[in-house]
């Protein structure tokens, strides 16, 4: 479903990833951990196709991608519902899009915030909005960067359950980056630690 083969990447001259290989089969659920600055987010962005590797290849299986980045970029001039509609435009036919968007806003406790623009929402609400869109597209590959930060215990649990359910029902492949281990217990995700080593980064499963 997702294969990064011997990927190297430098950002502004600083080598971030060196000769890294990671393979996820359909239905795999993997959580990357490791010290900050080691390239977890970069790896996720390469997996999403937002960045291209300098060397090596990234191959994604067919299907839809759901992606919630760390500081979720949202259209600042559109409401929460309109942002959902924008991100679901390709994945969901227009007849059912609005209803589906509302359902997912409700799932993540944003029903009352549907008419808010991002600047009127808290960090946690924006985070949940980005996650709502990532889950609502019905992704075959789900990429989440620190999905639990800014969220209280209740919403951490809700997000973990929703991701788990998607993984079980659709066989969604999940790759996430997280520092918080508590919510992961609900998920049963494989932990992969990224450690600096002389050759770059070593992956420990």
């Amino acid at each position: 479903m997702l294969e990064l083969r011997r990927v190297s990447k430098s950002i502004r001259g600083r080598p971030v990833l060196r000769d890294l290989t990671l393979r996820l089969a359909k239905g795999d659920m993997v959580c990357l951990t490791g010290p900050s600055g080691i390239g977890k987010t970069t790896l996720l962005e390469i997996a999403a196709g937002i960045r291209a590797p300098d060397i090596g290849t990234c191959v994604r299986g067919p299907g839809r991608i759901g992606c919630a980045l760390q500081d979720a970029p949202l259209l600042p001039w559109r409401t929460a519902l309109e942002n959902m509609d924008f991100m679901l435009a390709a994945a969901v036919p227009s007849a059912t899009r609005s209803e589906l968007a509302r359902t997912w806003l409700e799932n993540l406790g944003l029903a009352d915030a549907a008419a808010y623009k991002p600047h009127a929402m808290s960090g946690g609400m924006r985070r949940r909005l980005a996650i709502a869109a990532a889950l609502a597209v019905g992704p075959d590959l789900l990429l989440l960067d620190e999905p639990f930060s800014f969220l209280d215990d209740h919403w951490q649990r809700v997000v973990a359950q929703l991701v788990h359910r998607l993984n079980q029902s659709r066989g969604t492949t999940v790759l996430m980056v997280s520092h918080q281990f508590e919510p992961l217990r609900h998920l049963g995700a494989a932990m992969v630690a990224m450690d600096p080593s002389p050759d770059g980064v070593t992956l420990y499963t």
Binding site: E45, I50, C67, P73, L75, F86, A90, A91, K117, A133
Partner: protein, 246 residues
């Protein structure tokens, strides 16, 4: 209203003083000018000239806007394009309208083509730059997300690009509208037989000072209508847009 009355009073006073100083044959009095203007307004020919100038100006602005949007959006999306063409745009911006008038008179002769093309040549570079800079300043991660979610190009245009450059565009458009009719009038003065600029040229050639002043009043009135009716509301909208997106 008080501000308008005060400004009109100051203008009328200075005007009258100039009439007294230079004589009515060089500076017709405000009353004589008004009389001439009333005579002109009654004739359909005057409205024809006003309509021609307005049409040329607005038609040129519409073309400029379309060209600037298409090329500005494309350039703003690519840093390389921006850096490659920025000296060219700077050169175009530094080119005075009078140079375009001269060249276009030689190339396309007289008629509507010169005023329209001069407005486009003078106002396209700043508006293009406006759109391109507005596009380049957008959060590039939004485009990345649109790519990940495979959002259709039309939706990206409607929901991301156009609202994103909205305040930049309105600011640029207000500048273009403020300049377009002045540039049109200058081009008509030099290169056309019709339109307000051309009428000013004939009044000058015939030393019909009352007509010259009457046309000046018409020109300034149109400018003020555009300023208060179009430009100031546009600027207010642009500032409001900046305030909410900040």
């Amino acid at each position: 209203m008080i501000a308008f009355g005060f400004s009109a009073a100051v203008l009328a006073t200075i005007w009258t003083l100039l009439t007294l100083l230079y004589g009515a044959h060089l500076v017709p009095s405000p009353l004589a000018t008004l009389g001439c203007l009333v005579g002109m307004v009654r004739e359909p020919a005057m409205w024809g000239h006003v309509a021609i100038t307005l049409f040329r100006g607005l038609f040129a602005v519409a073309l400029t806007l379309v060209m600037a949007l298409v090329t500005g959006l494309a350039a703003g999306l690519s840093h390389r394009t921006m850096s490659l063409i920025s000296p060219l745009v700077a050169a175009l911006q530094a080119t005075p309208p009078i140079l375009w008038v001269t060249l276009l008179m030689v190339w396309v002769g007289t008629g509507s083509a010169v005023p329209v093309l001069v407005v486009i040549a003078s106002l396209y570079p700043p508006l293009f730059l406006n759109v391109a800079q507005g596009t380049a300043a957008l959060d590039h991660r939004l485009f990345a997300m649109a790519r990940v979610y495979r959002v259709p190009p039309l939706r990206v245009l409607k929901d991301l690009l156009l609202p994103g450059i909205h305040s930049h565009l309105l600011g640029g458009l207000s500048h273009v509208l403020a300049s377009c009719w002045k540039v049109t009038a200058v081009a008509e003065f030099l290169a056309s037989g019709q339109g307000i600029g051309a009428r000013i040229y004939w009044a000058y050639r015939m030393l019909e000072m009352e007509q010259l002043f009457a046309w000046a009043v018409v020109l300034v009135s149109i400018g003020m209508c555009i300023e208060f009716g179009l430009i100031r509301p546009l600027r207010r909208a642009a500032e409001a847009g900046r305030a909410t997106s900040a």
